[in-house]
């Protein structure tokens, strides 16, 4: 029955114009099986949440609540007043506590609103139904004004949930200056270990398709693609079923890291190169992540803000790897406890995936809107050779998806030779980690380049 449905619903249309992949890149072990088949579970509401006022790219938001004030699930508790900012909403019924400082996974110290849960909460299946359940319309979007979509996204405080945390209303915006012809929804999830996007594509493809149509309508795109890597064929199938007749094409891309990078996904699907230092809009594309469009659908269709997100808790150092629906602001300690705690072999706790995620030094860090998972790595998994010297084998050059010369950039950074660094386009590096992953000499290439980039930025400010 199901198979038949697939065949009738999947009518091959014109394939995407791109090659389905990009030059260079690496193949780290995928290791998605830890949490691949674990259905998304709803975490019971914790006693306390810490909601940082800055968990997105841009300006911090301004608190609207005072300590001891009662708030209800979904109330706006801080407003993003600047254009590039995002509002914050209460994920629980409860009382506001004393404002506290907290540390973001990336190490930044920011102010946070503390919310202590109080009274009856919606939990479990009821919460799931409230957020992702029910019907998701896939038609009659032509009647919705683009600005309405953008405003709803703004009001819901949605940011890029793939990890970048860039306020979504700034991207999903009707624009006269740079006309957008294509919307690409990113479901690549090329980071090893993480299965957040995969589970969402498998479990709530309708919400994703609905959100993709809304976002597409808002930016005025004539084509919509959902890009998925070839190692997630179950997700491809689910999306094709959900998107049947909706005018959305599912593009299957070769499994290679970092296929989920914005620029490389555009290359893979459309065969266009975003100009160096430019944005997807420069080639007429807007890109957003699958989890983000699901939040967009909820914001527009149900008028509900972003209060929860899906994360993977995975890796060889966690007792019970899971995929979870968690309230924003829950501490990593609560989540790890829910997942059975750490194994004795656990060696590193990473917010995000192992290639680009941030290692945290303490479990009291809150999950932010941009945290796509917690990867707990064992000693075995983070094994690294002793650092030696560069023998110019060129493996980093073959790995770099930006076609840079990492060893040269690292050397320029080490010598503080900023002219050389700029000559070799150091700012084009987006720190994907491919070079450091392959380096036979175990050089900290990414870290060196990072410091070089910081020096270049500092010099530019002078």
């Amino acid at each position: 029955m199901r198979l038949q449905q697939v065949f009738t619903s999947y009518r091959p249309t014109k394939p995407p114009p791109g090659p389905g992949t990009f030059p260079h890149g690496v193949h780290p072990p995928e290791r998605k099986d830890f949490s691949l088949d674990a259905p998304i579970e709803v975490v019971p509401p914790p006693k306390t949440l810490k909601l940082p006022l800055l968990q997105h790219v841009g300006q911090p938001c301004t608190p609207l609540v005072k300590p001891k004030q009662q708030v209800a699930f979904g109330d706006m508790i801080a407003r993003g007043e600047a254009f590039i900012s995002a509002s914050l909403h209460a994920p629980l019924n409860g009382v506001i506590g004393k404002t506290a400082m907290t540390t973001l996974p990336n190490g930044r110290h920011v102010e946070a609103i503390v919310l202590n849960g109080e009274g009856e909460q919606i939990t479990g299946q009821a919460l799931w139904d409230d957020i992702f359940g029910g019907e998701w319309p896939k038609k009659q979007y032509q009647a919705i004004e683009p600005q309405v979509v953008s405003d709803a996204i703004h009001a819901a405080g949605i940011v890029g949930l793939g990890g970048a945390a860039f306020p979504t209303h700034v991207k999903i915006l009707p624009s006269d200056k740079k006309p957008i012809h294509t919307l690409i929804v990113n479901g690549c999830e090329c980071e090893p270990y993480l299965t957040t996007d995969y589970r969402m594509m498998v479990e709530i493809p309708d919400a994703i398709v609905s959100g993709a149509l809304l976002a597409s309508r808002a930016v005025g795109a004539s084509r919509t693609f959902i890009g998925v890597e070839s190692n997630k064929l179950e997700a491809v199938e689910a999306l094709r079923l959900a998107a049947a007749g909706a005018g959305i094409q599912i593009a299957v891309l070769k499994t290679k890291y970092p296929q989920g990078s914005e620029k490389h996904l555009i290359k893979g699907i459309l065969n266009r190169e975003v100009p160096l230092g430019g944005l997807p809009a420069d080639v007429g594309v807007t890109m957003t992540n699958v989890a983000t469009v699901a939040a967009v659908a909820r914001a527009v269709v149900r008028r509900k803000p972003l209060t929860h997100r899906v994360i993977s808790v995975t890796g060889g150092g966690i007792v019970k790897p899971k995929n979870l629906l968690v309230p924003i602001g829950i501490s990593m300690a609560d989540i790890i406890e829910y997942c059975g705690g750490l194994k004795k072999t656990a060696a590193r706790i990473v917010a995000g995936g192992p290639m680009m995620g941030f290692a945290v030094s303490s479990l009291d860090r809150p999950i932010t809107k941009g945290t796509s998972g917690i990867t707990v790595l064992s000693h075995e998994e983070i094994k690294k050779e002793t650092e030696t010297v560069c023998v110019r084998c060129g493996r980093c050059v073959d790995a770099c998806p930006m076609n840079l010369v990492p060893t040269k950039l690292a050397m320029a950074s080490r010598l503080k030779d900023l002219n050389l660094a700029r000559q070799y386009s150091i700012m084009a590096c987006f720190e994907c980690g491919s070079c450091a992953y392959v380096c036979p000499a175990a050089l900290p290439l990414v870290q060196l380049i990072r410091s070089g980039k910081a020096m270049v930025v500092r010099e530019g400010k002078k």
Binding site: V26, K267, M356
Partner: protein
């Protein structure tokens, strides 16, 4: 709950910048080890043909290179890095590039020059401009001209057959005597102990390419260039008994193309650069073989192109993704 987090926090959490996972299968040492493995067929042929003379050269050079490495790292007050096997690779390649009859002190002097002047004065592994083994060989070739020139390969008193003959390249140049191609291919002729068997070089070179320790572009470019130039010369003079295949299988061409020119430290970083480098080596080999006073030119060709490598790297800076 707080207990759990605190307790575990102190116990296990390490912090480090991303990425957090690494490919630990390929390391500098594993690459060097692969080079040594790839040299085994060459080594066995050398031992089979030249017997003790080959063993002597290789053991002397290997020991002297390791000793040199130890001495010079000590002088520079750096940690000793014999385990990275780079000195061992230099020693074996150097030994294999010497004539079998060469006296013992030549290997020792060449080794110390290779490690000391070829590598250490530039700042050690990774910083050298010239292939260390070739620097050592070039030094003894000039310093002990009579022992290292064509005549140095011949020793009429040896029991080993091939050592009583001139090298094929010299024999042809001086007497116009071509050699059987099959002898050249299997290694039944005189020459530097590692270069004689084309078959062994191809097997070892193939292993290097499969393991991706050597980049395929360099040998491909060298061999394609020699093929075109020698083939062209062949076509212009169809009666010549020294064919393009003689060029291929004689002298150090294959040994050099696979084991010497591919040294990553002294060859360009990018694919395009490697093609330019390989073509340069091929052209120089043919020029030296055809027009110079030396019968063979792989060593000088590689050294000259080593000198051009920084320039080639600058010419072939890759175009960043999204730039024009």
């Amino acid at each position: 709950m707080a207990d759990l987090s605190q307790q575990k926090t102190e116990a296990v959490i390490h912090v480090a910048p991303s990425p957090h996972i690494f490919n630990i299968e390929t390391t500098t040492r594993s690459m060097m080890r692969d080079v040594l493995i790839a040299l085994l067929p060459v080594l066995f042929t050398a031992l089979y043909i030249f017997r003790w003379s080959a063993a002597k050269q290789i053991v002397i050079c290997l020991a002297a290179c390791l000793a040199g490495e130890a001495l010079f790292t000590r002088m520079r007050q750096r940690p000793l890095a014999l385990w990275d096997l780079s000195a061992a690779v230099t020693g074996v390649i150097l030994g294999l590039s010497l004539p079998a009859p060469a006296p013992w002190y030549i290997g020792i002097i060449a080794s110390f020059v290779a490690v000391g002047i070829g590598k250490m004065v530039f700042g050690g592994l990774g910083m050298n401009i010239f292939n260390p083994a070739m620097v050592g060989r070039a030094f003894v070739m000039i310093a002990f001209a009579e022992k290292m020139a064509a005549g140095g390969y011949v020793d009429p008193d040896r029991a080993v057959d091939v050592m009583t003959q001139a090298t094929p390249l010299t024999a042809f140049r001086q007497a116009g005597m071509p050699i059987e191609l099959s002898d050249l291919f299997w290694g039944l002729s005189n020459g530097s102990i590692g270069e004689i068997s084309a078959a062994a070089c191809l097997i070892g070179g193939g292993y290097l390419l499969v393991r991706r320790v050597a980049s395929w572009q360099i040998p491909a470019a060298v061999l394609a260039t020699v093929f075109v130039l020698a083939g062209g010369a062949n076509l212009m003079n169809l009666n010549s008994s020294w064919t393009v295949w003689h060029h291929f299988f004689s002298g150090a061409l294959l040994f050099g193309a696979f084991f010497i020119a591919t040294d990553p430290v002294t060859s360009p970083l990018t694919g395009r650069g490697k093609w330019i480098f390989g073509i340069g080596v091929g052209v120089l080999v043919m020029l030296i073989r055809t027009f110079s006073g030396y019968p063979e030119g792989v060593m000088f060709a590689v050294l000259l192109m080593n000198a051009c490598t920084p320039l080639i790297n600058r010419w072939t800076r890759p175009r960043p993704f999204g730039s024009w």
